[in-house]
Symmetry: C2
Subunit: 217 residues, 2 copies
DNA sequence: GCCGCCAAGATTGTCGACAATCAGCAAGGG
DNA sequence: CCCTTGCTGATTGTCGACAATCTTGGCGGC
């Protein structure tokens, strides 16, 4: 009966979601016994899930001191985003070299929807499109190694990412950057695609710093 | 008594070394019971060690099918090295911005030793210096996030890396590249340091492809 | 009153045993 | 003769219980 398998894996993802959604705050202690009761699974499974999350950098375990939700400082967030900058630059360059005509028009369509969302003031929708654009570029790039690292890093930043996307004025800055990225890939110019992507994410880093400074008021 | 702790951790590293040193070949199956006997530890500890190695990308576990030493194809090796290229480029740029005078002279010294090693034909020594140079640059860069990813990726490539370092003619190609990197960092020119590092690792990728083509004859 | 120390509770680390699952082989039917 | 099917040994997945360790609160001494 594979029901146990599904239960164990479901619980693992439930725990991941609970942390990602902010149900457990950064620094909060994750007591194994509590998680057992919470998700109706054994401690063995809880430990396996915690090790998974540790590998993804979402929790940190100290020997004999248990697991905590990892706290990501501003400096770490900047470092992580710097790494994303060069990796997504690499992926964008490869995307420019590999893009098909069908994918090119899909990029264009996203660009159009983005412009519409911005002029209509639909920031939430713009955020979704942003994610879809970066995802499509990574699909086109087809760089499995870079992809999985980027995905891991993204998980560590959900909190910060969320704050950025709601920051007023961001779309006005990032929309033209996104347009440049799309254009460079459509013209199959790897160097231009890489530098456009890097410029874009460099401005995300600036936004990160600004937002953090704002929050400390 | 912390003896057990040390034993468990020692066994973990012993298993890692056994895989890294090539004692277990890529694709080889790692049977938990055998590892228990081999290292004199319980299955629990073996499983923990295997999960560690999985996180590092050294082994791959399939449900109910056990753990295998991960096979790194040429394409994957190229991808991994591409990621290293952009990450070490990022680190080199930061190193150029942060290098102290003492570190600058240490870089110079390594450069001198490298020239000597090449002219003396001491390839093994040159390989060690190569590793020391890259390590020092990463120390100077002080980019923890990029560092740990680079270190993880390096582990997955030990086999290929080894073949490259013994490839005749490599030092003649890589020595001037190393010299350019050192010079750019010493002159505190981040852009030059990044592009020098990327050129260097791009040529490593070429070497990877050549060696693989040679091996298939 | 303050500091260090000890005991008890709570939490994590480890283990051996049992259950679930898979690979290989033999027997039977087409 | 080949394919399917059921069995059997081997291997991995899961669990509950016990041991080791840390934390907390109270006690005694200075």
């Amino acid at each position: 009966m594979p029901a146990d398998d599904q239960k164990a894996q479901a619980a693992r993802e439930a725990l991941r979601d609970a942390i990602l959604s902010g149900e457990y705050l950064p620094g909060e202690r994750l007591v194994e016994a509590q998680l057992c009761e919470r998700f109706g699974i054994s401690r063995f499974t809880v430990r396996a899930a915690l090790q998974d999350l540790t590998a993804d950098g979402l929790v940190k375990v100290e020997r004999n001191k248990g697991a905590h939700v990892r706290k990501v400082t501003l400096d770490e967030a900047v470092e992580i985003t710097e790494v994303r900058m060069v990796l997504e630059g690499l992926v964008a360059a490869r995307a420019a070299a590999r893009v098909t005509d069908a994918q090119a028009s899909e990029l264009d369509e996203i660009g159009l929807l983005m412009r519409r969302a911005v002029s209509a003031g639909e920031f939430r929708r713009y955020g979704d499109l942003n994610q879809r654009l970066h995802g499509l570029i990574r699909t086109i790039g087809g760089h499995h190694t870079a992809d999985s690292i980027i995905e891991t890093l993204r998980g560590q930043l959900v909190r910060h990412q969320f704050m950025i996307s709601l920051h007023p004025g961001r779309p006005a800055i990032s929309l033209p950057q996104h347009e440049r990225i799309i254009e460079a890939i459509r013209e199959r110019d790897p160097k231009a695609a890489e530098s456009a992507m890097r410029e874009h994410i460099a401005s995300v880093i600036e936004a990160l710093r600004d937002i953090d400074a704002t929050e400390l008021r």
